[in-house]
Amino acid sequence: MSKSAVTGPKTRSPVLPRESVPATVMRGPSIALALGGGGARGLAHIVILEVFDELGIRPAFITATSIGAVFGAAYAAGLSAALIRAHTEDVLGQRLDLARNLIAARSDPVHKLFRLFSLRSSLLKPETLLEHILPSRVPRRFEDLAIPLAVVATDFYAQDTIVFSEGDLRQAIAASIALPVIFQPVIVNNRAMMDGGLVNPLPFDLATGRGDVTVAIDVSGAPRVDPRAMGPGAVEAIVTCSQILQRSIVLEKLKSSRPDIYIDVSVDAFHVLEFHRFREILAAAAPAKDLLKRKLARVFESHTVPEVKPVPAITDQSQPAESKTRKRRLSLPLRSRKDKA
């Protein structure tokens, strides 16, 4: 596989200035976080990032695909999950303004815009969209991020994964989100780059070795099947089937190796383009948030004595005996790595 080298310092939970984050930062194992693609379903990543802020845990490394790259970059830039939530709500609330700005940014005839709404043409430039949706505090270059980030895109001609981890950050995110029906591909040096979800929708394999504990957030879900999709809505049917393919890729990867913590966010009920259902999607991600919080708290308890005690509510009462045997607990989350060997 032609994955370019991922660069960046191998740090353990760097301490960074961060807004709206508890002042206390837990010491413990370093976390390598993988945020998957899934269109509007990926709005759920915001809720997942809240877990890290609430526990005072900072990932040592983030790798992300598509919508995961948008939120992963914002978080890696040092923005809190609360800020990202407010910003996203703001952007999605101004959909009409956004649409107007996008029209102004284009020189194509207006009739093409109607084709956008019928999803028959890839005409939006992903870079243009990013300029409107990314918080202005997200830096231009990977090197200026607070947390090392790797962004996954598809190399169109090679039909393989391409990983960005240095240089132009926005271009990398643009490539990562460039879903063909909606966006133009991103062309760099005569190479065409597209949505990373086509080849690696949940890039936890890139997180391996970048932290003591790998955490994968899967928002690919099962496609929502509408019986009408099999009729005249051919485009809809193909979109659904491409989701099944993404799911198939993730399931095959999980058969080969598993991240230490795998969270399947239950967002199946939402269509990949239902960005307007922001609040519902975030609400649907609440159980996944609780699950991740419990799992992370358990991992941290077992690894080290935290400087500051975690919130009592997240202590898992069901297995009190295990928390005393540190060695045994340590082996739990790392079991999958042994299996692989």
Binding site: M1, R120, S121, S122, T154, F156, Y157, Q159, D160, L179, P180, V181, P185, I187, N190, R191, A192, M194, D195, L198, V199, N200, A222, P223, V225, A229, M230, G231, P232, A234, V235, A237, I238, T240, C241, S242, I244, L245, Q246, R247, S248, I249, E252, K253, K255, S256
Partner: protein, 292 residues
């Protein structure tokens, strides 16, 4: 690779006689799958009969013909006759479906063809049997559209199973079998070698997934090119992950990737392009059978 599965599968019991058994998996890829005919010629020319065949989409169509007892030559002749001209296909449709031509297009789904009707007309007579009557055990890979899971068909009437495996959404209607709505298996398992991996000593996988033409510069890529390239990247990624986990003994990728989905009328060209893959397979099979 045989060390990976020390417990012999039932089908491999025959291997105790000395000759290794061969399982064959033929992948999906629309017109590119005509290359499977060249692959089957390799088996005929070496005098090897697969113990079991799995097929997805066009791989199921070609594989079912072979499993029914047709030789690669028979299949090529049949396809040649069908595809010699568009007119011949239409003639055949009309001749075999007197007064029934309209049933291909439901008034409720105007753009969608009924796959069972279509394949019942296009497939050779000998495929109109049950799986149980086949000369070689056969498995058709499909996708349950509502449950979103792979369904491997290996019993019941053959033609509807093959039609289900080849039911590309937007072109063919899904096929209902045993209460399940089934579509093209390519969306879960484009090159389904894992379905037969434990059923023989040697597994041969034939991948005919498409790929973009690298000679087309980015500025000249049409929406259609981009869309096809995206789908092919997904298919390729599924197969790549399967290969990373467990590869078949022989994996063949005929050089037909840049032929388009509906290039059926370029059959001779596609078969010629598959010739090096056929020779590669013959060498690889002969080598492994000699070792035994």
């Amino acid at each position: 690779m045989s060390a990976d599965h020390p417990e012999p599968a039932p089908a491999r019991a025959a291997a105790s006689t000395g000759t290794p058994t061969v399982a064959l998996a033929l992948g999906g890829g629309s017109a590119r799958g005509l290359a499977h005919i060249a692959i089957l010629e390799a088996f005929d020319e070496l005098g090897i009969r697969p113990t079991v065949i799995a097929g997805t989409s066009i791989g199921a169509i070609v594989g079912a013909c072979y499993a029914a007892g047709l030789s690669a030559r028979d299949i090529r002749d049949h396809a040649t006759e069908l595809l010699s001209s568009r007119r011949a296909v239409l003639y055949r449709l009309a001749a075999h479906l007197p007064g029934n031509l309209t049933s291909l297009w439901s008034p409720w789904h105007p753009a969608v063809v009924d796959g069972v009707t279509l394949l019942d007309m296009l497939l050779p007579e000998r495929t109109r049997v049950d799986f149980s009557a086949l000369a070689i055990p056969f498995r058709a890979v499909t996708l349950d559209f509502y449950r979103m899971e792979q369904v491997v068909l290996s019993q019941g009437p053959l033609v509807p199973a093959v039609a289900a495996s080849a039911s590309l959404p937007s072109i063919m209607r899904p096929v209902e079998i045993d209460g399940r709505l089934l579509i093209d298996g390519g969306f879960v398992n484009p090159t389904p070698y894992d379905v037969v991996l434990d059923d023989a000593d040697i597994t041969v996988a034939v991948d005919v997934t498409g790929a973009p033409d690298t000679n087309t510069p980015p500025a000249s890529l049409s929406t259609n090119d981009l869309w096809n390239g995206a789908l092919h990247a997904l298919f390729t990624a599924v197969t790549r992950e399967k290969l990373a986990r467990r590869a078949p003994e022989i994996f063949i990728r005929p050089q037909v990737a840049t032929y388009e989905t509906m290039d059926f009328l370029k059959m001779d060209e596609i078969l010629a392009a598959a010739e090096p893959a056929k020779q590669e397979l013959k060498r690889a099979l002969a080598e492994r059978l000699d070792q035994a």
